[in-house]
């Protein structure tokens, strides 16, 4: 029953957020000043947004990009004056439709934290710096599809692509722009910028003590003002405390030493409701858990078997086993995205129907409770990440649920690289795992015939065409339709069963206002300029 009350809470919170967001427009007394103490559960490795192995929570208050995803994962302009589209002429397709050119108009009067003006040269430099193979960084995607960048004047950037890339906004330039005057000719792997980055954001990095904290002080010359003309940001200072122990995080929330924790441990979240002055917000996350089939297995290539699986899964039990917080999903596109199609067909939990489907497809129940066909048992190797308690619990539940329809799952768990290898190469019958995506995921890498992450041997040429349309078009109408078609096709083919999507549990002081959870990889802190503390 706890899961139901928590889900109720989720709805209430979402409504609350919507109200808060609406009322923010006419709230009259945004207060200036104050320090916000934030608890981070991980050790910040580097403050450079392109090379960090984590999401850049602290970085998002300091470094800005041209665009940023908002709370609905839609892009909004930041250092650019508008989001380039076909309609506004920001994106121009070549005559043959094979390549594109994007023009960004930059905001006027923006300065770096050290006072130097921000110009188009910084944008071009960022591309060159990230692309440079000497710079060790994992977030380089997006650099290879750009051929050249022109900067006709200080506020105009013309980017020539060698292909049509509708996901152009997902990493490069959105993650952040780097200051040319600070970094040109420097070694980006060792430069002090990785400790105290110079950005254009609402806060300036003033102190970074490894293993302890990052201090971000108010940028008095920030370019943004509130609707009533007040200079943003409202807060004087944000301090990111590194607190690796989840019990200590809870203690510090209780003692008032922390005001905001964006990653509350699932098993401790229930306590928050009992603490005065704190509230728990439930926000979406761009991740989804799924069970994938390997089509190289003859039984699993049979649609009837996959359909029976889909009917035999009870997501409620899976959710309860994960603390009651994940949400059930039916489509591979998580509901946060505007591309999500609510009419995607779902498979109701119905063990009888599942059994009936298998009976009709000729799978006979054997003496040991496992079905057989042509003398072969319906027994499959089932891979999850070894050592991940949540995943291994889910595995146990799925094994029990499949046993109810006469299917045997044999655990074959792998750790780390071995799991990853298995997933790429298809060294499994069934695999359970999750994807965490950016605000504009490319689905062909998962379900396209030649997709880099498609180890399933799944191939549907019709789907490939739809994916090509989706990922090769810049027309929102065309994309929406293609996305719907993709979701329907995948739901009908059942190459994988989408199970649950995770939620972010955010604990914050009730005094913090204007906070809107942001599910994207640009983190909740992307909008920190508008936050204020009410006394």
């Amino acid at each position: 029953m706890t899961s139901i009350s928590r889900r109720g809470l989720f709805r209430a919170t979402v409504a609350g957020v919507a109200l808060a967001a609406m009322s923010a427009g006419w709230a009259n007394a945004q207060q200036m000043g104050g320090t916000l103490d934030v608890g981070l559960t991980y050790e910040i490795d580097t403050m450079n947004v392109y090379s960090t192995g984590y999401l850049g929570d602290a970085q998002a208050t300091i470094v800005e990009g041209l665009l940023a995803p908002d709370e609905n994962a839609n892009y909004v302009p930041v250092l650019a004056t508008e989001v380039p589209t076909l309609d506004n002429g920001g994106i121009v397709l070549s005559d043959d439709g094979e390549t594109m050119t994007i023009t960004y108009h930059l905001r006027e009067g923006v300065t770096w934290h050290d006072g130097e003006p921000f110009t188009s040269a910084d944008v071009a430099f960022t591309w060159e710096a990230v692309k440079n193979p000497d710079f060790i960084a994992e977030s380089k995607s997006g650099t290879e599809v750009i051929d050249s960048i022109e900067t006709p004047d200080d506020l105009t950037v013309v980017v020539h692509y060698n292909t049509v890339a509708p996901d152009f906004a997902s990493t490069l330039f959105t993650f952040g722009i780097m200051p040319k005057h600070v970094l040109e000719g420097q070694d980006l792997n060792t430069h002090e910028y990785n400790e105290l980055p110079v950005g254009t954001g609402p806060f300036m990095a003033t102190e970074f003590e490894r293993g302890q904290y990052v201090v971000a002080e108010r940028n008095p010359n920030y370019w943004r003002t509130a609707e009533d003309g007040t200079q943003l940001p409202y807060l004087d200072r944000i301090v990111f405390h590194i607190v690796p122990d989840s019990n200590t995080i809870m203690t510090q929330l209780r003692s008032g030493e922390l005001d905001l924790v964006v990653k509350t441990p699932y098993n401790q979240a229930a306590q928050i409701e009992a603490i005065d002055g704190l509230e728990l917000m439930v926000g979406p996350l761009l991740s989804w858990q799924h069970l994938d089939f390997n089509f190289r297995n003859d039984f699993l290539a049979d649609h009837a078997v996959r359909e029976a699986f889909a009917h035999a899964v009870d997501r409620e039990v899976l959710i309860r086993a994960q603390g009651g917080f994940p949400e059930p999903i039916k489509s591979i596109v998580v509901p946060v995205f505007s591309l999500y199609d609510d009419t995607t067909p779902s498979y109701e939990y119905d063990v009888e129907l599942a059994n009936q489907i298998l009976d009709e497809a000729g799978y006979e129940m054997g003496d040991d409770g496992i079905r057989t066909k042509d003398g072969e048992r319906l027994s499959f190797d089932f891979v999850v990440t070894a050592g991940n308690a949540d995943d291994e619990n889910v595995q146990q539940i799925l094994m029990a649920q499949m046993e109810a329809i006469g299917v045997e799952l044999v655990p074959d768990n792998r750790a780390g690289v071995a799991y990853r290898e298995a997933r790429y190469s298809g060294d499994y019958d069934l695999i359970y795992g999750r994807w965490i995506t950016s605000a504009d995921p490319v689905y062909s890498v998962f379900y396209g015939t030649d997709g880099a992450n498609n180890g399933q041997g799944y191939s549907n040429p019709e789907l490939d065409e739809v994916l090509a349309t989706l990922e090769g078009s810049l027309d929102p109408q065309v994309r929406q339709e293609a996305s719907s078609e993709m979701q329907h096709m995948i739901a009908e083919d059942i190459p994988s069963i989408p199970l649950t999507t995770n939620v972010a549990l955010i604990t914050k002081t009730t005094a913090l206002k204007n906070f809107v959870p942001n599910p994207t990889n640009m983190t909740n802190f992307v909008n920190s300029a508008a936050w204020y503390l009410e006394e």
């Binding site: 192995g53 060790i136 490894r210 122990d245 071995a418 799991y419 990853r420 995506t437």
Partner: protein, 317 residues
Amino acid sequence: MSLSFLIRRIFGAIPLLFGISLVLFVIIHLAPGGPLDVYADNPSVSPEALEQIRVRFGLDQPVPVQYVLWLRSMLVGDWGLSIRTGRPVLDEIVTRLGPTLQLGGIAMLLSFIVAVPLGIVSAARRGSRTDSTVTFAAFAGISMPVFWSALLLQLIFSVWLGWLPSAGMKSIGDGSFPDRLAHLVMPVAVLSLATIASWSRYIRSGMVDVLSQDYIRTAYAKGRRERGVIFRHALRNAMIPAVTVIAIDFVTIISGAVITETVFAWPGIGRLFVESMNGRDYPMLMGLMMMGSVGVVAANILADIVYAALDPRIRHG
């Protein structure tokens, strides 16, 4: 105890340390997983980007080659580059060594100052109420898990009373002596508690043993007072078993106290180790473990010297 003995011990430790490094290197590479696992769930990290990182850190080389490369950087360089942060391992370790030495050193000193008198009193008044109380407290101290006593202290002094900061090493923008002291109180107390408990037991048992010796009876017989007997005749001999334990515990000063550092968000070596272990940051792990190994070897040599100083009958030829 000759100088030549000391020199021989130190040189003898070199092949030992090579052996240890080889074993450690093999073990951490046998452990499942690798440094690039953190990207496993992130589909936007392309295989090409991963390959670039792999080549950059030499992870594409065979393991024996990696060992030689590591050994070279350990002997003549900056101990290699951390895969997680991209910074030299030596820099990272030095950054974390200060806080760990501070916490561990103060805790050790405090433990020593408290444990020795406790052990002596307990042994000298064997069977008395004082002895029972100390014994009971010692067992309670040994049995109480560190994370539990830490949580309890945080609850009492930070949440209920609000006297002390619950975690961290200093306040932002402060860092004055009283501020640092306030941050030190709880971690030092937690770390000392268990150490005091175990050391006082060793000193007690050593003392009980010595106090029943003939020469103690002789000392009493020639008219010495109890205080004189204990400090002049018994203590030095009673310390010998305790020195071994203290010497080994001494190593934790540099290898860090994982649980205490994690619970109190103390930026020390122990946490760096856990973080590096989770990320399979091979160069960092090797650096940390080698530092710990050198510590153990050094502590053993030190213990030998102390034995000889305490008991002139012990001779190292």
